[in-house]
């Protein structure tokens, strides 16, 4: 199994999240225009831990 642990950013919505074993933690900055999650179709962060493709995310740390 691929070790996915780390902090990543979605290149489309720029939402930053952290993967720690089987826990996904994302941080959403709400705006005055409203709140949306996920902000776009097929955002990797909206998938389950087993289905996230980290190659589609930008690694931060």
């Amino acid at each position: 199994m691929i070790n996915k642990n780390g902090t990543y950013k979605c290149p489309v919505c720029e939402v930053i999240g952290t993967i720690d074993d089987r826990t996904i933690s994302v941080r959403v900055q709400c705006s005055e225009r409203g709140t949306a999650w996920p902000t776009h179709r097929d955002c990797e962060w909206s998938k389950t831990i087993d289905n996230i493709d980290i190659s589609k995310l930008e690694r931060i740390s």
Binding site: T23, R27, Q29
Partner: protein
């Protein structure tokens, strides 16, 4: 100086009775044919003084009544502060608040946790109105919600089931997020499970909320003390 508060019905009734009594006393003491000029003059002076006293008393009671009506008007006006729906309508109309209706669907893998942290737009608090959570299977998802810097979770449900909460009715202004909220869902099942969340609320300018909160506290302190009722007539 503390303004006297009076019960309107009693004042009016009391004043009328006073007036009737005074007039009856005057009629009863009306000098007869045999009265001397001196007695008639004394009677006229007494009558004049009585009328002046009655008018003064009436003027005072009308002033008191006016104050009472002003209090009643202020108390009625507080509905716009203490009734969440009126308050929210007012703030949306004034442009100090923005509506926030938010829904999402999230899949959670087996033994997986999905944690999401929302940060309010800068300078806004979030006031919840309504929330609905639907789960794919009851009793297999744990939910923990933290708000701002509170040490203990605002909400902890070890085995989540579908539910809805109308905050504006059940807990008026009971769900106010100053800056950050964190929600964590853990799936204890061996298969994927999903949650669907719907929330309704408003983003209200922080300075407006702080100011209005203080005014609400001041008004509550002022009007939850029973007024001094003058009922001695």
């Amino acid at each position: 100086m503390q303004r006297r508060r009076v019960v309107p019905g009693i004042i009016v009734g009391g004043a009328s009775l006073t007036l009737v009594g005074a007039i009856a006393a005057l009629i009863a003491s009306t000098p007869g044919e045999e009265a001397t000029d001196s007695e008639k003059i004394d009677y006229l002076i007494e009558a004049s003084n009585t009328q002046t006293g009655i008018i003064s008393a009436l003027a005072q009671q009308i002033t008191d009544l006016n104050g009472t009506l002003k209090d009643i008007r202020e108390i009625n006006g507080l509905d716009f502060a203490f009734d969440p729906m009126r308050y929210i309508t007012w703030k949306l109309r004034s442009g100090e608040a923005l509506p926030n209706i938010f829904s999402y669907y999230q899949l959670i893998g087996p033994a997986g946790t999905f944690s999401v942290t929302y940060t309010n737009p800068e300078g806004y608090v979030w006031i919840g109105i309504f929330q609905s959570i639907t789960v794919s299977q009851s009793g297999v998802i744990q939910f923990i919600g933290f708000v701002d810097d509170e040490l203990f979770p605002k909400s902890f449900v070890p085995r989540l089931v579908s539910h809805s909460i109308n905050w504006s009715i059940t807990i008026p202004f009971g769900h106010v997020i100053k800056e950050i909220t964190n929600l964590a869902f853990t799936n204890f099942d061996i298969a994927d499970q999903w949650i669907a969340v719907d929330t309704m609320g408003i983003y209200l300018r922080s300075d407006v909320w702080e100011r209005d909160s203080k005014l609400m506290d001041m008004a509550a302190t002022k009007y939850t003390t029973p007024p001094e009722v003058i009922n001695d007539k």
